[in-house]
Symmetry: C2
Subunit: 129 residues, 2 copies
Amino acid sequence: MLKELEEIKRCPVSYVLAINDTLNAFQGKWKMPIIGVLLFGKKRFKEIEREVAKITPRMLSQELKDLEANGIVKRTVYDTIPVTVEYELTPSGKNLSTVVESMLEWGLQHRQSNIKLKITGKEELRKMA
Amino acid sequence: MLKELEEIKRCPVSYVLAINDTLNAFQGKWKMPIIGVLLFGKKRFKEIEREVAKITPRMLSQELKDLEANGIVKRTVYDTIPVTVEYELTPSGKNLSTVVESMLEWGLQHRQSNIKLKITGKEELRKMA
DNA sequence: TATATCAATATACTTTTGTATAGCGCTATA
DNA sequence: TATAGCGCTATACAAAAGTATATTGATATA
């Protein structure tokens, strides 16, 4: 396969940790959709809540804290009355777009090579509607 | 940002489904480690069990079925006595290496830009040891 | 005064995911 | 005969993740 994979083969622990960090950035039902909307710019709490279909404030609050603790999202409080809070991706968070793109490419080619998944997709579409 | 992101902006449902497929390929505690070992070639059940630290046969069996159903792993039974079973990545499964590599790159750069995570990493290292 | 928005938090609960442990039928080796 | 290896499955349980619903204190609007 590729050169870099040969390096993974030697499998230094730091590589495992690095991949794990990336996995954690997306883990769970809501992180990807949240990062998704934040890739298009700063948003306030309620804006994200509106744009991420069916998320509850509890989940949104929890996930934003998590993303903040992991250096993916930056939270800014403005002392307006009442307070305004804005969430935006850190530079590192913005870089996740390259990972998202590789996921998109793989997903598209995988679907093309797999008729079964296309059918599943249609079912999911119905559920989503 | 990038051109492709502009396309996501229009957000056709098929894109969401594609990204979801990729996410599902890695979701959970064990899929990434399993795919990881299979990236270096065909393996038998017990080999994978040995190479993926601390996985139980129940989890391994479950995850392999899942990966097979998603067209990521191919299972081959040889009629030796007793049977020999081999697992290998499908072409689509092998292509996941590009996603893994982008995860690796992001993870490494993210760690460099984040001292806090480096400390967490050391703790995880202790736990892993 | 009544209702709505903002940015959440609290409590209780259900569902999903993962663990622990034992066992199956088969065969090869000591 | 006893033990170990192979490729799993069964049962019971614990922990993690997610949901539902209500509420907070502040302000703005009808």
